[in-house]
Structures are given as C-alpha cells and as structure tokens.
C-alpha cells in the first residue's frame, strides 16, 4: 500500500541518493539550461518627453523614431549589479555581430534611475562596454522616464525588480520585445530582417 509516508520517504531517498536526478526532473526551470527567449510583437508609442543623452545634449526620441530604421533599446541603470552588465554585453556583442550593418542600427539605453544617473554617470557606464561610439544613453526627469517605462511595459516599483528586456523597433510603432536568454544572434538576425525589408 502506498501511503503518504512512503511517498515522502521515497522522494527523500531519491533526493539523498542522487540529488542531480531530483533536480533534473525540474529541468525546464533549470537556470543552467538556456531557454529560447520570448519574442513578442508589440505596438509601442514613445512618449514625447524631454531627455538628455550622456553628453548632456537634449534629445527627443519620439521625433528620432520618425526616421525609419531598426533601433535596439534597453533599460539599464548604472549601479545595476547583475542584469544590466549582461544586457549591455549582449548589445555590444550584437553590434560586433552586425559588422558594417551596425551603422544602420541605433543603439539606445535609457536609465531607470534618473535620480542618480546623470550624463556623467551614463558616460562612465558606457565606457565599461565596447558597444561603439554610436551608443546613446538617456536620462531625464523622473516622470519623463516613468512615462517611457509605462509605455514600453517595462516599469517596476523598485529598481531591483526590473526585467531583462531588449526592444527592437522594426518600423513605425512596431517593436519586438525580447526577454530571457537573448543572444546577439537573435538580435542581429531581427535587425537584419528589418534592414532587408526596408531595402
């Protein structure tokens, strides 16, 4: 007779006897196994709010998006410990993978910590990665940043609850929203599709 006690003992024995089997049973959540990233097609409308880039120059991203072409955008903050270094390293890798095509892609990062991240902080962060001189990082008033985050479904109540997201603008308001184990291959492929389509 299989009763609850036997089941528990059995499970425990399996755990003690061979931990890796017990753990492998959950492999779809195993952090060591690369998952295909999620790719969602979305319509995102960039709010027209005043921002500054890492040189202190004023920018209007909504206006800039009226110029067609792929845009690879990430949300970061300069004191971010874990997620942002990975995001920015993948962006750097994407730029390298694109080769000469990289000049046709805009690389943008927007801080989610505008209270701390001014132009100087953004420049110092940019210097830690090898994305290239065309990488632009933006900050602004906190309600401007909040508006953008909400528009891109990328807000969080606290910074450390932010998500690892990459946004690729295809055309107009059509963006692809990537999340998960995103690679330079995924992003550069998607960017190239945009370039091919636009001729």
């Amino acid at each position: 007779m299989i009763n609850r006690r036997m089941t528990i003992v059995g499970a425990g024995a399996m755990l003690l006897g061979n931990p890796s089997i017990a753990q492998h049973a959950h492999h779809q959540f195993d952090p060591s196994i690369q998952q295909a990233p999620s790719r969602l097609m979305r319509d995102y409308h960039m709010p027209r709010v005043p921002l500054f880039d890492q040189t202190g120059a004023a920018v209007d991203l909504a206006a800039d998006l009226e110029n067609p072409g792929p845009v690879l955008m990430t949300f970061i903050f300069t004191t971010c410990p874990g997620i942002c270094p990975i995001l920015s390293a993948v962006v750097a890798d994407t730029a390298e993978t694109l080769g000469p095509d990289r000049s046709k892609v805009r690389f943008w990062s927007i801080t989610i910590d505008p209270d701390h991240d001014g132009p100087d902080e953004l420049q110092a962060y940019a210097n830690l990665f090898d994305v290239g001189p065309d990488w632009r990082l933006f900050t602004g008033a906190s309600n401007s940043i909040d508006a953008i985050r909400r528009a891109y479904e990328a807000d969080s109540d606290i910074k450390m609850a932010h998500r690892a997201l990459f946004f690729l603008r295809m055309e107009g308001r059509a963006w692809i929203r990537f999340e998960g184990d995103v690679t330079a291959h995924d992003l550069s492929q998607a960017a190239r599709e945009v370039l091919v389509k636009s001729g």
Binding site: L15, P19, S20, A22, Q23, H26, F29, D30, P31, S32, I33, Q34, F77, T79, C80, P81, G82, I83, P85, I86, S88, A89, V90, A92, D93, D113, D115, H116, L128, F129, D130, S142, D157, I158, K159, M160, A161, H162, R163, A164, D181, V182, T183, A184
Partner: protein, 518 residues
C-alpha cells in the same frame, strides 16, 4: 609564485588581474565582460552574500558557505518563498533544492569559475560568466575567498546586537528627547517580540520559532559627544572600545558631521541616516545619508542660475548657526558654475539670502533691494521648521526656494501611519516631527534588514540590504523620494525650486512668475 590576498581582493572587487590587466569573462550567449563589470563583487557583492535582481538569483560564496556542503535551510527557504521579492521564474526555481558537497580544493574553484560546474557536477546558471585565469590569479583569488565574509562582525554576541547613536553637544534638548523617545519605544517593542520568539520555540505560529536562534535582542548605546568637533574622534573611539557596535543608527549633530563620518569609514561601521545638515562632502562606503543637506540647496540654486544665464549674483547671510557656512558653500558652488560672486545685487541679477524669515523680510524691505529687478533665492531648510512647514510670510515680492521636502499639498502615504504609531505610544512631539519620522524610518529599515539577514550578521551584507530596502515604500513622508542602489549613499531625491509669492507658496510652473512679469 603564489598570489597574494591583496591580488585576490583586486580580482574579486575591481576586476583587475595581478599583472594589472583587466579581468575578462564570457557569458553563455557569447557576450564578453571586462574589468569592473566582470568582477565577482558586481553580482556576488562585497559581502559575498549575493543578491536577487529580477529573475537572477546570485548565491552566496562566502568562505563559510563554500567550505560546507550546501543543503536546504528551512529558515532561509521560508524567507525566499514567502517573504522576499523576486521575479516569477526565480521564485519557481526556489523550489529546486540546491545541494552540493563542500568546495574542497582549488580544482573545485576552477571547475566553478572556468567551467561553471559545482562540486556536485551540476551546471551553474547561464548568468554566471566563465573566467579563464592563470595559476597566479587562481591562487590569489582562492586566498581572498578563503577569508571572504567571515562572520559575525563586531557588535554581535550570543544574545544581543549592539547599536550606537551619536548626539553632538549642540543638539537642542527637544530634538534630542524626540529622537531618543522614538528609539526607546521602537526598540522596547522589538525586543518584546524577539523575546516571545525565544520563549516558545516549539509552539511556533507562522514558523517564528525557526528564526529564534538567529535573533538577537537590540541594545542601543547613546554616544553623547562633548566639546569641540576636533575631540570627537577620540571620544568615538573610546565609546567603541568600551562596547563595539554592529552599526550606528540615526543620531544628530548641529555642526560638522565629518569626524563621525571619518570614524565610520575607519572602523568599517555602517552609519545610517544621521540627522545633519552637513554630511561629509566625499561619498564614503559606510555612511548612508538622507540628503546632501544644505550643500545641495546651494548647488541647486547655483545650477539654476547657470542654466538661466544669470551672471551677476550677490548674497547676504545672517547670524544663524548655518548661515555663514551656507554662504561660503554657495560661493564655491558658483565658482564651479563659472559665475562670479559680486558684493552688491544689481538689476537683472540674482540675490541669495541665507538666513531666517527675519533676515529675508529685512532684506526684501531694504530700499536698496526693494527697487531692484533681481531674482531672490533662499534656503527652504533654514526657513522651514522641523515639521517641514514654512513660516507664514508676507512677502513683498517673489522668492525662489531651494526645497528638498515633499511638495506642499502632496499626499504622503505613510506619514499618518507613523504619526499614529507615535501617538499610540504617547511620544509624539509634533514640533520635532521630521526628527521623529526620520528616526522611525531608520529603525524600521533596520528591522526589515535584520529580518533579511537572518543569522548572517555581516556589516557589508547589512549595507547591501539597506541599499535595496530604502526604496520599498518605507518613506515616512519626509522627502519626495528615497532610494539607493549598489554603492549609492544619498537616498533623498526630488529636490526642486519652489516659488513663494506674497502670502504663500504657489503651485505654479517655473515659467510663471507671481507678479506676472517676465
């Protein structure tokens, strides 16, 4: 040649190899990291206790954790599952038991950091980079990690965690009383709850008995400083020698906080949220502040003048305790904006008035100034009382205030709750409201942080936990926003310039003027 401990510290904390080159690493996706962003401390933190960010869970790699086999711990798991913020995927992964033997030797370390495999043969998360280190670097790193995060830190014994609070000699009696009343009452309540957890460990509602062994009763030591500031360092050292403390909480001084700041840096003592208008000018590692104080107001106004292109700036200051120092600070702030300070105000220029409402009124009524078309600026902190309220001024003209507090009329979600707490304990002193709210905040934050620490009494881990918790809705309504991040040490944000017209503050945009002029 065997690597040194210092070399290991540089690899771990700064991402620099013994030969001076940058540490490099590869991510699973093929992307690369170098230097500070490749350093172990970036994710595993200076404490070695790791952190949770979104869906990434970075485990602890302190010496004490690595040298033991890893088995599930009910107390930590309960916190992770039910009491802590994490992303949805990370939360699911908490259910996977993490079990491995101890890290026994250098080969185990190499397997981990070069191949991402732990001593049980299990592969690590794809977020863990892979490092290729030579023998010297591995040996150096190993010698550093063999000492990483050994606990407990000073100030914690078998049943008590010791805290200190510092009071400068010139702090007003009322303020001192207001602050200490909050501390006394909060800690008495906390200790009652903690003792309850000790008393009935086997009958444990909400599993509180699990945490009994990690709990310590709080003891607060009041370090009253006397005499001139240059004698404070030795007084602090004496106090500390008598009873080392785990951290310094709150405290107040009217003059220079620098000696206390320096003491905290030297003693590696977390010093949280003192009440001071003059925090140290340099950002330290161990001292955490609300705002940059009066210096912030001087800089705010100087930046505004630079942005609007005003070139002719003059100032007057009064005889209050902070007035002269604020004037000197403003002069420095103007220098860094390339604006020269003039002796007398002029048409089309600006005038800063550093002093109380008396000085402001006299200055504005002074015929030499009353007839000038000049922008007038003042310090919100000096004019406001400890309730954050401005005096009822009848101003003959517009004055622009540097303002660090919540906007008048803003709804402050937590303030009534804390007021209620104060009233219920009959310690509410409303003329010292900011002092009491800020003190309550510091203790509240400390309680949440110690809950997170469980039995991991590490000062660095305490600081790292504070960095995250400040943002989580504990703001008692004394500043528009409070938040920190890794290595950030000034929590208050949202300072602005308010316009005062006639009899009160105007909810106007900066482009509007009271008198309708240009």
């Amino acid at each position: 040649m065997a690597g040194t401990f210092e070399d290991g510290a540089r690899i771990y904390n700064d991402g620099v190899l013994p030969n001076g080159q940058l540490l490099t690493a590869t991510l699973a996706q093929g992307a690369r990291l170098a230097g500070p962003v490749a350093a172990c401390a970036r994710c595993h933190r200076a404490s070695g206790h790791g952190m949770v960010e979104g869906d990434i869970r970075v485990p602890a790699i302190t010496a004490q954790v690595l040298e033991e086999p890893l088995v599930p711990r009910r107390d930590l798991l309960l916190r992770e599952l039910y009491q802590e913020r994490q992303g949805p995927v990370s939360k699911t992964r908490v259910h996977i038991p993490r079990i491995r033997p101890a890290y026994a030797n250098q080969a185990d370390l190499i397997h981990a950091i070069s191949f991402g495999v732990d001593p049980s043969g299990r592969e690590m998360s794809s977020s863990m980079p892979r490092y290729s280190l030579d023998n010297a670097a591995i040996a150096a790193l190993q010698s550093y990690m063999a000492q990483l995060g050994r606990m407990p830190d000073p100030g914690v014994d078998a049943d008590t965690v010791h805290f200190a609070t510092v009071l400068g000699p010139s702090v007003q009696m009322g303020r001192r009383e207001a602050m200490l009343a909050v501390m006394h009452s909060f800690i008495a309540t906390r200790n009652k709850e903690i003792k309850r957890e000790f008393e009935r460990p086997s009958f444990s509602v909400n599993h509180k008995g699990l945490y009994g062994p990690s709990r310590r009763v709080w003891q607060m030591h009041v370090w009253q400083l006397t005499g001139p500031a240059k004698t404070w360092t030795s007084q602090l050292q004496e106090h500390y020698a008598r009873q080392p403390v785990f951290a310094m909480l709150g405290g107040a001084a009217s003059e220079n906080w620098d000696p206390v700041h320096q003491f905290c840096e030297t003693a590696h003592l977390p010093c949280l949220f003192p009440l001071t208008d003059w925090p140290a000018t340099e950002t330290g590692h161990f001292s955490v502040y609300f705002s940059k104080g009066l210096r912030l107001e001087a800089q705010l106004i100087a930046k505004r003048l630079a942005a609007t292109g005003v070139r002719h700036v003059a100032q007057v200051f009064g005889t209050g305790p902070n007035d002269a120092r604020l004037a000197a600070t403003f002069k420095d702030a103007l220098v860094s904006e390339n604006i020269r300070l003039h002796d007398t105000p002029q048409n089309g220029g600006a005038l800063a008035v550093w002093g109380d409402e008396d000085l402001l009124q006299r200055t504005l009524l002074d015929p030499a100034i009353a007839n000038l078309k000049t922008d007038v600026f003042a310090s919100g902190s000096i004019l406001a009382d400890d309730r954050g309220n401005l005096p009822d001024l009848r101003l003959p003209r517009q004055v622009e205030l540097a303002w660090q507090y919540p906007h008048p009329g803003e709804s402050l979600t937590r303030i009534n709750r804390v007021r209620g707490w104060l009233r219920a304990r009959q310690i509410r002193m409303s003329e010292w409201e900011r002092t009491q709210l800020n003190t309550y905040f510091t203790l509240d934050l400390t309680e949440h942080a110690l809950d997170h620490l469980v039995d991991r009494y590490s000062r660095e881990f305490f600081l790292e936990t504070i960095e995250q918790l400040v943002e989580t809705g504990l703001n008692p309504g004394t500043f528009p926003r409070l938040s920190l991040g890794p290595s950030q040490r000034f929590a208050a944000h949202g300072s602005t310039i308010l316009i005062m017209c006639g009899a009160g503050l105007m909810n106007k945009k900066m482009s509007d003027r009271c008198d309708g002029g240009e």
